[in-house]
């Protein structure tokens, strides 16, 4: 009984409520005529889409920079990569990995500058990160209209200049990962093995990095910056590295998302991607200066599971689309729950 109590203690009540809510959704699904196999396949798909974006938050949390509200910067680097890959009309795996390679210089440069900025403003990092992210998204909105792209599928029909809001990746690298070794069971159930393998690979790399010398130093900076400084570790350098990695993973995350979702969404699309990722890692059990691989995987699965199940099940039960409201309350409720925990804010 005692360890059940400690399990509940550190797993936290909100997470348990969400978990039970999700299980009940799965149970009721068949009762209200929602195809279980299609839903589960959808959950896996969305899990694969979001997992790397959530993974991108881990380095900055570990190094004590807090929740990365500026993830939009990484997403923009990814958008630049994928638009360039489409411009060069790279196809198939070349297209997909080309996009990641092309996004790398942008994400590393942006991450470096963003890390330096955050080191200068310890304290109100989260609000500043948010607004730096937003202003950069707006700047890019202008860039999308001005940059000389010419691939007809991307550019406006009549104007011939400036990019569309959403660009299809059909014919380039749509579902490259999803269909790789995909297992089809019956008409509805498709298991995106390639996608989940790639996600597993990224998570493994992160796990290995966190156990490396720099990774250990970064974790120490997160849990006790003075301890790290006394052991000869430069806190600022570690934080900058964590921001660069976080931005780089953010770029990869959005590209993986696009290949599975099928569309490259530009202009103000990055901003609404940040909060769901943060909510997911918090649902997984991370707090403001500690996050592990389990938090990422469990959190993404729970959150995305919730997002897929609520529209179908709730709609048929209550005949209304409450899912948007539930998503907003659960996602922001979780972030709020994390922010109000007693947390040593890295000063």
């Amino acid at each position: 009984m005692r360890n059940l109590k400690t399990f509940i203690q550190d797993f936290g009540w909100p997470r348990i409520i969400i978990f039970l809510f999700l299980v009940s959704l799965f149970v009721f699904a068949p009762a209200v005529g929602v195809r279980l196999d299609a839903s589960i396949s959808d959950v896996f798909n969305r899990f694969g889409q979001y997992a790397i974006l959530v993974l991108a938050l881990v380095p900055m949390i570990q190094s004590g920079c807090g929740l990365n509200f500026g993830l939009a910067l990484g997403i923009i680097a990814g958008l630049l990569g994928s638009t360039l890959s489409l411009q060069l009309e790279l196809r198939g795996f070349m297209g997909f990995f080309g996009a990641i390679a092309l996004s790398a210089p942008f994400s590393i440069l942006l991450g470096y500058l963003y890390g330096k900025l955050l080191n200068k403003v310890k304290g109100e990092e989260m609000t500043i990160a948010m607004y730096v992210g937003f202003s950069f998204v707006m700047l890019m909105c202008i860039m999308w209209l001005v940059l000389p792209y010419s691939n007809p599928t991307m550019v406006w029909g009549y104007a011939g200049k400036g990019l569309r809001t959403t660009i299809t990746v059909e014919g380039y690298w749509l579902k490259i990962l999803n269909d790789f070794l995909a297992i089809k069971v019956g008409r509805f159930f498709v298991f995106p093995t390639g996608l989940l393998l790639f996600v597993g690979f990224c998570a493994f790399c992160m796990w290995v990095f966190l156990r490396s010398k720099t990774g250990t130093a970064m974790t120490a900076v997160g849990s006790n910056p003075d301890f790290a400084r006394a052991s000869g570790v430069s806190a600022d350098k570690m934080r900058t590295i964590s921001v660069v990695i976080s931005t780089f993973l953010g770029a990869i995350g959005i590209i993986v998302y696009q290949q599975s979702f099928g569309f490259v969404q530009l202009y103000t699309a990055p901003t609404p991607m940040v909060f769901p990722a943060i909510a997911a890692i918090l649902i997984g059990g991370a707090n403001i200066n500690k996050a592990s691989m389990v938090n990422v995987l469990v959190g993404t699965f729970l959150f995305q599971g919730l997002l897929t199940m609520t529209p179908s099940v709730i709609n048929s039960v209550l005949q209304t689309d409450m899912s948007e409201v539930i998503r907003m309350i659960v996602s922001n409720g979780m972030i709020l729950y994390a922010l109000t925990r007693k947390m040593k804010v890295a000063k």
């Binding site: 290995v208 156990r211 490396s212 010398k213 250990t216 130093a217 974790t219 120490a220 849990s223 006790n224 003075d226 301890f227 400084r229 006394a230 052991s231 000869g232 570790v233 430069s234 500690k290």
Partner: protein, 544 residues
């Protein structure tokens, strides 16, 4: 209130924190208009006594105290500082509690502003009344006048020189109508010579008006000059309670530190010490509260060099400065090679290690396991306990090697813990200290700085920690520089002991020197050159 009974009397107060007795049967009286000088080394119990008098919550949280406090003969029980304030006890702490953006007047009458009710009082409560700034100004100026100092009542505290801040805080305490007892904790620590004189003058004037004053200071000549009666605290005991007439600084100093010389007799075995390993010239360190102004000393290889002195004099600043944890300057040479300051990594690489005084804050990763804590610094500096993968391109923590290292030190230092995977926060104080020592020893340093190794751990663990240090010095020849406020321990283990006062070395004594000599050096009465320096140094800070 002409009655001659004591205004405040403290009867057999005792207090213990987690097993070690901090105050033992302390009793003394304070009469109206009397200034009582309370002196004693740090850790003698002065601060705890004041916390009890002022009803600080920390006392109740740690099991309360026994003994009674009488005001005008009736027993008084304070559950929080506001009860003490109502009973007329004002307290001026060492660190300022002033609102920077407020003027002198606003600070003096903080939360006791005079005001007249506005029409919204009945609607939204009394705090809607309008402040009467003219009356507030008058009240502040009368309190300042009572102190006899010139203070501009409308100057912002943030633009005020340090001395004026102290006067503002004192004026705040005495502006309370009911203040009959005023407690001042090290008020002159931040003042220049001239300002201290003015303060002492105003304290005398306050006493004449019937206010009982408890004056805590380690500047013995000020205590002798102003106090009517002197109480000396040592190890929680009120060893002396004498009127101040005819008492000299030398007497107070020896009472303060004079312990029965029962420390275990030092074995006088021959100490063959090597050449000079460390030399420090004109070291200054900007560590808040422990400023080091100008320190010069050298340490010979294999020696245990002790650094003692009262709190706040800068002894803790020395190791933190040399190791680069706080901004520092000056010339530090190890093995005759210049050590670059302000760079912790370079200091560690040069072969120095540091066991910090702030065990929980700097010394440990409370959330991580023991093997992590011990191996971390060695891993970062010497790259040990890592196994290269992919041909050294990446490194991975070598969990097995870390485990063996941890087991080795658990046996060597007899650390009581369930396993090497246990979290550091779950260990007792003594065992945590041993983990910090193990972390330093794992670096195999040539020179080991140890700061306050025995602070806040039980007596049994103290002996074990000291024995470990001595064993490492004798068997592996590690040179140790030990900073401690426990004079007894320094004398038991060190070859030489330097006493720090006002940020510089007042003198270096052999451990066998007479206890009174240590007391004098600590009290900063020696007429060594650094003393006159103090007078103008803060002055410079003032008008920078």
């Amino acid at each position: 209130m002409g009655q001659n009974g004591p205004l405040l009397s403290i009867k057999n107060i005792s207090k213990e924190f987690y097993g070690n007795v901090v105050l033992h049967d302390v009793s003394f009286d304070l009469h109206e208009g009397e200034i009582l000088g309370l002196v004693g080394e740090n850790g003698a119990g002065k601060t705890t006594l004041m916390r009890i008098l002022f009803g600080m919550p920390v006392i109740a949280e740690t099991g309360g105290f026994n003994g009674t406090i009488l005001i005008d003969g009736q027993e008084a029980r304070f559950s929080n500082p506001f009860d003490a304030l109502d009973a007329g006890i004002g307290m001026v702490h060492q660190e300022f509690s002033l609102i920077p953006g407020f003027t002198t007047t606003e600070n003096i009458v903080l939360n006791r502003e005079s005001m007249h009710p506005s029409l919204l009082n009945n609607v939204f409560g009394d705090r809607m009344s309008i402040l009467d700034r003219s009356v507030m100004k008058k009240r502040a100026e009368s309190a300042i006048a009572k102190l006899g100092v010139k203070l501009d009542s409308s100057m912002l505290v943030s633009e005020m020189p340090v001395g004026h801040k102290q006067f503002t805080e004192i004026a705040r305490e005495i502006s309370r109508e009911k203040t009959r007892v005023l407690v001042l904790d090290e008020p002159t620590a931040v003042l220049t010579e001239s300002e201290a004189e003015v303060l002492l003058g105003s304290l005398k004037r306050l006493a004449k008006e019937g206010v009982g004053i408890i004056f805590i200071s380690h500047r013995l000549q000020e205590v002798v000059e102003v106090a009517d009666r002197i109480v000396v605290l040592r190890d929680g005991l009120a060893v002396k309670n004498v009127p101040s007439s005819g008492v000299t600084i030398k007497d107070i100093a020896s009472w303060m530190v004079g312990r029965s010389v029962s420390a275990d007799v030092r074995s006088e075995e021959a100490r063959n010490l090597g050449a000079e390993i460390l030399s420090v010239e004109h070291l200054w360190v900007d560590m808040p509260g422990e400023t080091v102004r100008d320190v010069n000393f050298s340490v010979r290889s294999g020696e245990i060099f002790g650094i003692g002195g009262l709190a706040g004099q800068g002894k803790l600043g020395i190791p933190n400065g040399v190791m680069g944890l706080y901004p520092a300057g000056g010339a530090v040479r190890l093995h005759d090679k210049e050590v670059v300051l302000n760079a912790p990594a370079l200091a560690l690489n040069a072969g120095m290690a540091f066991v910090s005084e702030d065990r929980r804050g700097v010394g440990l990763l409370l959330e991580e396991s023991l093997d992590w804590n011990i191996a971390f610094t060695a891993m970062q500096i010497h790259g040990q306990y890592l196994k290269p993968i992919l041909g050294g391109l990446f490194t991975q923590r070598d969990e097995k090697a870390m485990y063996c290292l941890c087991e080795e030190y658990i046996k060597l230092l007899d650390i009581k813990c369930t396993s090497s995977k246990q979290k550091a926060k779950e260990l007792s104080g003594g065992n945590q200290q041993k983990i910090c020592l193990a972390k330093a020893f794992a670096l195999k340093p040539d020179l080991l700085f140890v700061s306050e190794p025995t602070r806040g751990i039980d007596v049994g663990a103290k002996k074990l920690v000291l024995d470990t240090l001595r064993k490492y010095n004798r068997e592996y020849g590690t040179t140790i520089v030990m900073v401690s406020s426990e004079l007894e321990e320094l004398r038991a283990i060190c070859d030489r002991i330097a006493i720090i006062d006002e940020g510089s070395i007042a003198g270096v004594l052999p451990p066998s020197a007479d206890i009174a000599e240590f007391g004098i050096l600590m009290a900063g009465v020696s007429d060594s050159p650094t003393k006159t320096k103090r007078a103008d140094a803060p002055q410079e800070a003032m008008n920078a």
